[in-house]
Symmetry: C2
Amino acid sequence: MLSKKTKYGIKALTYLAKQDRNVPVQIATISESENISLKFLESILLTLRKNGFLGSKKGKGGGYYLLKDPKDIPMTTVMRVLEGPIAMIPCVSLNFYEKCADCPDENACAVHMLMLKVRDNTLQIFRNTTLADLSI
Amino acid sequence: MLSKKTKYGIKALTYLAKQDRNVPVQIATISESENISLKFLESILLTLRKNGFLGSKKGKGGGYYLLKDPKDIPMTTVMRVLEGPIAMIPCVSLNFYEKCADCPDENACAVHMLMLKVRDNTLQIFRNTTLADLSI
DNA sequence: TTTTACCCTATCGATTTAATAGGATAAATG
DNA sequence: CATTTATCCTATTAAATCGATAGGGTAAAA
């Protein structure tokens, strides 16, 4: 299941991608437009800022804005920051690899084999889809 | 994340697919071979039996066995019974569809658009992969 | 100096997950 | 027919995660 954090994060990024990058947008504006709890969204945008996606400005006229061109933001990076691993199981994860405790041989494991195929495909989609593709 | 229930379920099915279909295999045998908690595996096999994948036999010489040829068991059916929806979000699910409360228009939603692509791809893999493919 | 809006940490209730406990039922065996 | 074997079934629980909220701190603009 995709977490609401990720869902809301993508919606917020998409919202920002449709705006003028030089004009900061307030959390409250996005919150109301996208029907997202203000405080929850606040923490999500904070995460996105700390991870280099957003810039922010305090005080009157402040808010958040995209730091990069949407077409230079592949969904892999967004997903990894908000959702964590793209793979369904750690033993096939590129960035969050972990060995299964119960599995003596990964190469002989049916689950590993199947989930590797799924990960390859999903990864390709996320790599080839940028924020710009989602903001039309 | 793939649940351990699904992971263990697939491993157990794979194990059974490698055996003679006419000879029941005891839970304890699979549990030991695959390093799965016996009681947990018991409940998983029960689910698989109730959903038509396995047959069972009680008493001495009893155990579980596959009801169908592994090549006639696509992973879609296994995943749906053990894991639930294949889609990452209910609004793009075929079998477990639910509308998002916050989303006024699915067709204009970035998350919907992205997750639909992922679901299509993942579904294709699960449809084209059978238990036989995983049991080599 | 007041207002505005982001910054940051802590906490909480609800849900889900993985596992366990403990006995009931049915089939084979001697 | 009693005993052993192995599945059947329900309930419970500990831990983790999730979504959301609370509440005050900080910086910038007017």
